[in-house]
Symmetry: none
Subunit: 202 residues, 4 copies
DNA sequence: CATGAATGAGTTTTCATTCAT
DNA sequence: TATGAATGAAAACTCATTCAT
């Protein structure tokens, strides 16, 4: 909390605090990326967030609930930043490239959130429901892909396959870059986008 | 151990029981896939494996060590089954398709092992070293890809990029199939292989 | 509070709401019978009573205070319903039988209150003071028993012994009936009353 | 552990220890009588018993299991001490008096165990099964009562009623004596036994 | 009077691991 | 080699209570 925020807060210190929820989320993301889901306890999260661990239970039902809400909140943030300004007038290829670049840019500049998503996606704590809800945020992309199939620009295959090919290699690329196994090159990125396009193209 | 099994063991200097190690591995894989890494304790593994939990510490230094050894053992098994019979006389495309199909076949018929790999790959318990060692098993594939680049059949891009594009979509496809989000179709598989080829092709 | 309820309250100096106190008591009784004293928390009581848990602390000092007040309130209610109309003109045996039947009837028709009493009577949270105060409500009965001793109808033994023999078997009978271990029969009841009388009779 | 016991134990310190189970039971009984079931935590029991609280879970599944096993163990001990030497040659009244006196003597000299039983009997943690099993220990008494009915010495009423009248007043007497509300007199005891007999007698 | 938010201290239980045998 | 018993440390979560509004 900055000094200014603090002063705004004086009159309402006993009201449920967006900040608190936020700092719990941030603490969780950081710890999980640093030490893994299994090693991240509620009390460690609380300590890092600067609240009592019982306070977490004011905001969330239990650990599972907290993680699922965090998952959805990140998915939503991502969707808002990445897909909201989809421009209908662009050519299909431009739209495709635009969306993919924005997505890659998002995960590159929100590494922590992205890595949390990746780790949590493999956990049995992720509810089927959250998974589904999370996918919904990609709706504009599904529309794009369907349009591409209709225009015979993309292959006539299951849209899930197109969707998968569009994002999974990019995600993996960012993951191994973050993991230090390769170094990031703009050139690689362009190649990756080209390869993705080639995979989808009819 | 039956008498017969025992007699087979006679010539062996080591007393440690390959079977026991094996059943610990199997128990671990099953439990981790069922309940997640975080929820799988040594004592549960021991119970499922039919040994005392102290016995696990005869075979492995600690939990981390056990999981890393399990990781490498699966990677090795996979490598043996999938890449050992790489046939040099095949055309590049045939070799590519052959390898990819064998890989997909392996993970489809060894779902538990595959899912364990996926879950453990995202865990900080996975040692850098194991990760690297795990990659080594793909060496024949790296050779294939290099050859393809030299012959100008594949794009002139970082071989890691080629490797990534070759396997990651297939893995993701199997994962969402196992997760019940799509149904398996031979047709999809053929399309996937074609898309993969298109992505790599120069 | 509706407007009408509010207007009924006009003449009262106290703002504390008899209803609210009542619903806290009811919630407590129900929960304690259902799950036991140990498992009944203030917040669960509050939730069931439809108030905030901090509201309970407006009415009571703390949990102990609340339980003791509840205890006394039930004892009082019982005393009012059971012993207030003690009829001096009745013969001793009629008075005895009348009182005992009324008591049994009360605990049969107020099972929850009765069971709470039983459970709380064994708790160290029950203050000595409350216990003593609770006994006072039985004063008419002590008078009856003393009179019986003077008239040589009852045994010349410690009045506490008479009192105990008068009520304890009846209470136990109702308890095991409520617990489902026996079924209720009017016949049993008559026998029980006879046995009680025989125990007391000189 | 005495010095002698200790020396006997030297060679077997890693074998499940009857003593340990015993000291957990004793700690539990004492604490529950002192502070109530609700206030007695596993860690307090462990501390008092001189073991780690995790050790309790080596011997019992959970708190409920521990308490139920303790309940049955006391019931069994009581049954062994009180009813095992039932003498068939005695007259009914002698047998009745003998059993009742032995019972009263047992609860007077095992106050802690008795009070635990009383407190736990009212708890929802007491399993129906344990309750039933606990009653079984009274079998010799049920036989006695049945015989008395056949011989027309006792009233022709439900045996449960006879059983109840035989023990409940005695138990209550001991309870209020322990609670300090009355003082113990041999004379009272004799009166109590006479009253009990009068209640049962045909 | 009434309450939502907050929390320190506590709960039960499980964990990975050790150790004597 | 194999193990049953034991445990300190930590897990997730709940509790009675307070406090600012």
């Amino acid at each position: 909390m900055t000094l200014i925020e603090r002063s705004f807060n004086i009159g309402s210190m006993r009201h449920k605090d967006e900040n608190k929820s936020e700092s719990i989320f941030n603490a969780a993301i950081q710890l999980i990326n640093e030490h893994g889901l299994a090693e991240t306890s509620m009390s460690k999260i609380a300590k890092k967030a600067g609240v009592s661990s019982s306070t977490i239970y004011v905001y969330f039902e239990n650990k599972e609930d907290m993680l699922n809400k965090l998952y959805l909140s990140i998915k939503k943030k991502m969707s808002l930043e990445v897909f909201y300004d989809y421009d209908d007038s662009l050519s299909l290829q431009s739209a495709f490239e635009h969306a993919l670049r924005k997505y890659i840019n998002f995960i590159l500049t929100n590494k922590d959130e992205f890595l949390f998503l990746e780790q949590f996606s493999n956990s049995p704590l992720l509810h089927k429901l959250s998974l589904k809800e999370g996918l919904d945020f990609f709706e504009p992309i599904f529309n794009l892909l369907e349009k591409g199939k209709i225009q015979n620009v993309f292959k006539q295959v299951d849209t899930n396959l197109l969707h998968m090919f569009m994002f999974i290699p990019a995600m993996q690329y960012v993951k191994i870059y973050i993991g230090g196994q390769i170094e990031f090159k703009q050139e690689n990125l362009n190649e990756l986008i080209q390869m993705t396009w080639d995979a989808l193209k009819a």
